[in-house]
Amino acid sequence: MGISHYVEKREHEITEYFMEPQQILPAFVSHLGSKNRFTNREVEPGPPHEALFFVLAYLDVFELLVMSEVCMPFRDAVSRDVLPWRNIIIDRPLNSRLSDEILVQITTRAHGRLRTLALINCFKITDDGLQTVIEKNHLINKLHIPGCSGLTP
């Protein structure tokens, strides 16, 4: 129930900046020529299907971290791409694991272009941690921090 509500919200975020991932995609279109190489994927593992690079922009923090561990092409795509990191939403299950230090590390991937930061029940986050992130990211226009009990109200 909580999840579906959250997905709704995320869809909204994504349509909002939909055009931007498009601009980085021509780089991947060059993969199109080899589109049939995946036909036998059930038989033996190979390089990732080119379509999956398009999906990266639709993933949340946890899935982005997972994808960057799957293979080198994903790791490189995730690390050089600022776009997926501009809207960061931390909800369950990552909320209880998020410390100030990790928050700063994760938001640094947006290279100062963080726009949306939603920390839902991230109780380890302190004023100092949030302050650091906001100082480094002047473009934040949406901040949503319900249930972050470590912050001064």
Binding site: E42, P47, E50, V55, F62, M67, V70, M72, R97
Partner: protein, 183 residues
């Protein structure tokens, strides 16, 4: 009537029989032929083909053509993409957001992982934004909360990291994996 050889007349009659003979339906619809890389021919109504921004601009440049070769697109994903666009046109003519959402959800739910993934480059190439959005979100949903090993086997991806590189990434991301189910 059985001896009639004038089939265009018959078509007109059928059109007139439709409950709402408005100008839109009475107008003979132009067909456009799309040819996939595996030489399958798809005849679609012009309105469907115009949903493909790439095809649309092709026609704007050369209006007299009636066959568009699509050398980077195979028949199966193309037929599925056409199916999706036909429905979207109905929603355009008759807007019903709830119905559209329901259709889009069903469209992806019934597709295999491979079908979804194979349609994404096609939707991108043909520049069908709505479909690309629906497909990417659907794949993203299928890997939500999954482990690295799951994603690799799910998509048949080779682990090309050295043990050291993999361990370094694991350490860097360790905080995110506390108590994650390995499914």
């Amino acid at each position: 009537m059985s001896s009639s050889t004038d089939s265009p007349t018959l078509t007109t009659e059928t059109t007139q029989l439709s409950p709402q003979p408005d100008t839109e339906t009475a107008k003979p619809t132009k067909k456009i032929t799309l040819k996939s890389s595996d030489n399958q021919i798809f005849e679609v109504e012009e309105s469907v083909a115009m949903e493909f921004a790439t095809v649309k601009s092709f026609f704007e440049d050369s209006p007299s053509t009636d066959t568009v070769p699509l050398p980077n697109v195979t028949a199966k994903p193309l037929s599925q993409v056409i199916e999706f666009c036909k429905e979207q046109i109905k929603f355009k003519a008759n807007p019903d957001e709830a119905q559209k959402k329901k259709y889009n959800a069903e469209f992806v739910t019934e597709k295999s992982d491979k079908d979804l993934v194979d349609m994404i480059p096609v939707a991108n190439y043909l520049e069908i934004k709505d479909l690309l959005d629906v497909l990417n979100q659907a794949v993203a949903d299928r890997i939500e909360n999954k482990s690295v090993e799951y994603v690799r086997s799910f998509f048949g991806i080779d682990n090309d990291f050295t043990a050291e590189e993999e361990a370094a990434l694991r350490r860097e991301h360790a905080w995110a994996y506390e108590g994650v189910d390995e499914d």
